[in-house]
Symmetry: C4
Subunit: 273 residues, 4 copies
């Protein structure tokens, strides 16, 4: 009986360290964030052959140690989640906890290591290995976002501006399709390699309307240039809309978090602006 | 008599299904929107030779069936429009209804099919065929915009900001002409192929002032580069103006739709803007 | 005596037609604006050899007739300006009127024609002729701006935001100089042709910081790319500032012109926002 | 005793001329700012071989004279700083004053001259000389920023928007890493020279997400283009965020400086923000 209680309280203590809900950072959080940051840097730097070849073993060892720590962390998270009311059931609770997006990303950050380790050498080819590496890196970067308040703010913004964004995106999709179709019919004869079909013309449209303008696909006919000029002038303003909506939403959301209602510091009455 | 009444009520029922005025979506609307979307995807994907050549017949059949459905829809719309007061006259009412922009686009979405079908083979060449295909695709994309509230919002914005937009556009046109003329005289001697005349220099101006910057026409002389630097710094702010006007207008229009009417803070009565 | 009075009243009538001060457009204004527009189009289209060579005489004649009309207009403006109190003196008043910017541009729009006509053939070379043509075209485009309310608005904006603009421009000039110097020292060894000196590196800086990004000068060394990345991320926000200041000033100025103070339409009291 | 007092008062007079605290410009400030401006222009123009070679001696002499003046100014500043309460101590006070950022930049603007002069010829190679020149130019440009109110405003803005900027920058760093990793895995096989490793892909990401778009690294595979299109549309809005935050902060800071303090509309007392 005693042992069960102490085990339970240890589980609860572990759980409260791992899953803080007050928004602050514990010492453990700082350790994990630092480890993930080092991991991301290592995985990025590893792709530079000159650096990787200095000591491939060091990279390999650092990855192994990191995965070991992340695995322990993952297992303890799964084990201790039953401390929370909603995941109380020892089997179904843990399963439901394991399939939450956050835990799923935690799993993706370690799984590729074991797959690459356990798969029979003959069965795993270079493409699969590259895919596993991509998943591993992306999942570890994604793990960082759990600790970034920017992501939570963005989620709030996307929710608050949902209606506007959908309206604008449908509208922009129609514009994009029209611009691509027009440019395809205007340029395909003169440049059959760069405007071979409408999906290719769509590449031109996106790169032009976002004002990136690489210059890899550029209209050369008079009709194409007149069309492109009109599309550029008209379309750019409209493609800047979602950016504006997201940007102003972000600012609103952030100032909302910082302030309660605004009060006059002298008479304490609320000031409406 | 009975037959006339039942025919009339059927016409009215059809009409009210086809031309909903309450802004919602009927099941029929969803069917037509889905069909147009599939159509647009098919017409775009069809331009990719690798996909088209898998089964040209499938594309041909899907187009034929779609046109058949759109034709029935078009004919029923024209037939049932007399249910509305303003198009009551059996001939002139229907004609006036047929030339409204919305119905005209519906016609353009099906007409190219019949023109290509009925035209004597010897009389129709590749250029005409391409033109018919472009019209068909653009008209079908345009049909989608009827169901997008973004388009209605934009029409409202263009109307509300008319005066500002005209002032700014005249001003920008003057700037564009000046920039193009200056660059033509600065660069034509050094690059007679890229700045051969002022309309060509205008291509440079538009691509630079919108910050797309393909790099296909770039000043190379010292005078041209100094001019281009000054034009870029001065002009970009001004070219961003219509985007800003449209953007802020869009946001206003959208928040107006979401909020109720504006009230005077003194007497609490509604203020129309 | 009678003749003097009638001449004076004719002068005043002419003057009031030519120099309307109420901001509206007279029939004469519309005629002149149309003529200038046609002129600008002709001078632009003339630079396209294929069009010019169709009928060089027509372009020559249209220019001669236009200059004749503009000359008459100019002479009458100068002659009738004494009707205004501040230019009353028959000699000094007219001289002072002739050197106002607006009248000076009017003169520049016709003078090149006479210079090219009267100069001894041997004395005028191609470069001078091109310069005269550039002046002629720019002055005629500039004449249009007299009738554009956009220009007057801009003048108001520049005046209202003077302090902000000067602060920001000094700040940006310092940033531009620093970015150019850094990039010159980072890239001159690797690309001695594209970053040969700091003024050339300044071309890179302007094209990058305005986000035009032609791609004609691109850093290739690791140090240069890291610097360029940092400069791009930091600098672009700051280079967008003058655009933002001008843009918001433009909007304020325009809404100020449209509205008086805002009143509640029911109780007619002023509403402060 | 008398001599000490007069020396002290001379010191105080010198100090108050050199370190004005009321924000205005003394005649001495104008002289120094003009000299620095001339210096910066000379150092920039000097890098153009054609101009430098006209009279290398003139540039050398102008630099020597400038450094002499700056050295006198620097020495007097250090000597007279004890007039201020906080740097009263003749040794430690002067040392603490010498390590303030402003004085440190003043030193950097003259030190390279003496290092190049005093170093044994055999010991200083071209790379060190270039580094000294870069430091000299950057420090002199940086000296200008002391007199620019733009810099002080920016410091205020960075402080006021600290929290927003950190949140956004962490968020953008995560996005940048994800975009770079995805593009590396998508493109490295097709373009092993341009997407050789993730840091190289990061160059692509920065140039694309800031919409500069040089076109030196462009995705060519279908997967890479689809990814790039999605990244461009999603990411650009988010990369424009810091610019928007800084821009709006700049405008707020500037209007705050122009306007008086904010008053509560109920009790009319001042509100500090």
């Amino acid at each position: 009986m005693e042992s069960t209680r102490s085990s339970k309280s240890m589980k609860q203590r572990l759980h409260s360290v791992l899953e803080r809900s007050d928004g602050g950072f514990s010492g453990f959080d700082i350790f994990i964030v630092s480890l993930i940051c080092l991991n991301v840097v290592a995985l990025i730097v590893e792709t530079v052959d000159e650096i990787h070849d200095v000591s491939p073993l060091a990279f390999r060892m650092f990855d192994t140690i990191s995965v070991a720590i992340f695995t322990v962390e993952y297992v303890v998270r799964i084990w201790s989640c039953t401390a929370e009311e909603q995941y109380r059931h020892p089997v179904w609770g843990r399963l439901r906890f394991a399939v939450t997006p956050v835990l799923f990303i935690d799993l993706l950050a370690i799984l590729p290591f074991y797959v690459a380790l356990l798969a029979p050498v003959g069965l795993i080819d270079l493409r699969v290995l590259r895919f596993l590496r991509a998943v591993r890196l992306l999942a570890r970067i994604a793990r960082l976002s759990r600790y970034s308040s920017g992501l939570r703010t963005s989620a709030g913004v996307l929710n608050a501006k949902r209606a506007e964004l959908i309206t604008v995106i449908v509208f922009l999709a129609i514009l994009l399709l029209m611009a691509s179709s027009l440019m395809y019919y205007a340029e395909t004869e003169a440049q059959p390699d760069k405007f071979a079909n409408i999906p290719q013309a769509m590449w031109w449209s996106i790169i032009t309307l976002t004002t990136v303008g690489y210059g890899d696909a550029v209209p050369v006919t008079a009709a194409g240039r007149i069309l492109a000029g009109v599309i550029a002038i008209l379309g750019i303003g409209l493609f800047a809309l979602p950016a504006g909506i997201l940007g102003s939403g972000f600012m609103e959301e952030m100032s909302k978090r910082r302030q309660g209602p605004r009060l006059c510091p002298h008479c304490q009455r609320e000031i409406h602006e």
